[in-house]
């Protein structure tokens, strides 16, 4: 697509039909993601940000749910292509990391098998080549002693290490887009900043576009070039992060910004 646009979401509506009265959780969601940029998606719980992200990643396939609109990636509408076509994109071109790294990893499988899995699904590499790739990506996400870690199970790792493993799994196919759904919410603050730095590094080195979902505005401010603010299923404000933060148009955005604790976390994160 023209001028490096990777992903174009237009008029995405998500409706639940699990009650008598259908409930819409996302209204007219629009998003354009360009190569190598980091876009923030902020909003309170239940604002529809995770739902939008899951829809983009092709992970909303409940039968009692209706999705309307278009999600264009690589000339294809992800909402209308077949499951098989979608699968060839999932974990390959678009991958996702989640809020809770412990439950997001399979508790009874070794780290190596979980990180290696996308290679088994999407490539024809042999055993040695896969091992090399896994080792390389584990080093890249700055895990100490990767040869040991790959033989361990998720419960034997710390929260930060688990999220690094999740990032390694998501990045092993060198995807064009990484969707990070509150990747640092379950981690403590020092680990948070390490993970954010790691995402920044991967973005800079590999030109992976990141859709960063968070309710932590200061984090979004330090990481993202552009930001979308969601409330009750609507995008209420969007634009370059600096502009939104310095000159918020909407009352809701102003309130959100006013709610940031006075300690200037942006200095902490940008202090590198």
């Amino acid at each position: 697509m023209e001028n490096g646009v990777l992903l174009e979401v237009t008029d995405l509506n998500i409706e639940f039909h699990d009650h008598i009265i259908p409930e819409t959780v996302v209204y007219d969601f629009d998003l354009t993601l360009r190569e190598g940029e980091i876009v923030g998606l902020v909003g309170e719980s239940g604002s529809g940000k995770s739902m939008s992200a899951l829809a983009i990643a092709g992970l909303l396939s409940r039968k009692d749910m209706k999705k309307r609109g278009q999600i264009y990636y690589d000339g294809k509408d992800l909402l209308s292509i077949s499951r098989n076509e979608l699968r060839s994109i999932q974990g390959n071109d678009i991958s996702m990391i989640f809020q809770e790294p412990l439950t997001s990893l399979n508790p009874v499988k070794k780290i190596y098998d979980q990180v290696e899995e996308p290679l088994r699904i999407h490539t024809e590499l042999d055993k040695e080549q896969r091992y090399e790739k896994v080792l390389k990506i584990l080093k890249e996400v700055e895990l100490d002693d990767p040869e040991h870690v790959m033989k361990q199970y998720p419960h034997e790792l710390s929260g930060g290490m688990r999220q690094r493993v999740m990032i390694a799994t998501a990045m092993i196919m060198e995807p064009k887009i990484l969707i990070a759904d509150e990747p640092t919410t379950a981690l403590d603050v020092t680990i948070q900043s390490q993970i954010v730095k790691l995402l920044k590094k991967l973005n800079a080195q590999r030109k992976t576009a990141i859709l960063f979902i968070s309710h932590d505005l200061s984090l979004v401010n330090s990481l993202c070039e552009r930001v979308l603010v969601m409330k009750d299923g609507y995008i209420v404000e969007s634009g370059p992060t600096k502009q939104v933060f310095n000159d918020p148009k909407e009352e809701y955005t102003k309130k959100l910004i006013a709610a940031i604790p006075k300690i200037d976390m942006t200095k902490v994160y940008r202090n590198e």
Binding site: R87, G91, E100, S104, V108, E117
Partner: protein, 315 residues
Amino acid sequence: MRYALKKIVTMMITVIVVTLFVYIAFNLISGDPAISMLGTNATPERLNALREEMHLNDPVLIRYFRWLFALIRGDLGVSYSYKIGVSDMIMDKIPVTATMAVMAFVLMVVISIPLGIHTSKYQGGVIDRVIIILNQIIMSIPPFFSGILITFIFGRVLKLFTPGGYVSYSTDPAGFLWYMFFPSLAIALPKATMAVKLLRGSLVSEYNMDYVRTAYSKGNTTNGVIYKHMLKNAILPVITFLGMALTDIIAGSIIVEQVFGIPGLGRILLSSISNRDYPVVMAIIVIICCMVLVVNMLVDIIYSLVDPRISFEDK
């Protein structure tokens, strides 16, 4: 490895405790073996002489240890009513009961796992609904009744086997296995339906787990997600159930043997109980206890192999 060793040691201690309880229990039961051997008309002198000969006048604990050490050497004692070694009486019956138990277990696994996966995958589908109804019916049927039903359907109506026409494994192994298939099915069916229900429920709750979403996000097919990710997690409660079911099968075989006219451990056990032939009864109880304990130990070890979090807590 250390975990397995620990389990084996615990099991051996349990065996000793079980034998002690069995021995003491049978000593508390009223009835003098000497009287039951000689009859109520025997003279006190003859009774006393026999009691001396059988060491019945020694304290219970000493007799227990004498019995236990004989047991460890493989000497199960002498039957009161048949005057022959208990081991000679039951040794050729153990393979009969064991074959039935193993067959029933294999049938249970072979029936329940594919059906459990299928029904969880197609919830509300035709097979799912049929199985839910069948479950309710079969689960409430005791094994002896399912044995009668199977005898009627497969033996009388379909004429696939001759009811009561048991063939020994030494004369016709194939015929023996064919005949044993039906009692095994009678034992396996009620357990299998429960296992289907359990596995279905277990898999259904796994569908909502975060790691399943992760597995889909990697580009897995639904089958890939089920077989590579969910099954190993969902099977854990089923393993526990299968272990418990196997001990039930061993115990339940006693009754089903009666229905199908199979000369296994169950038949000897029942006749020995009514004859007050305690050495035989004790030997069979100890053998069944050992089978149950071995099964439990295997379940624990398999569990720790499937779920890495188990042995971790013991380190």
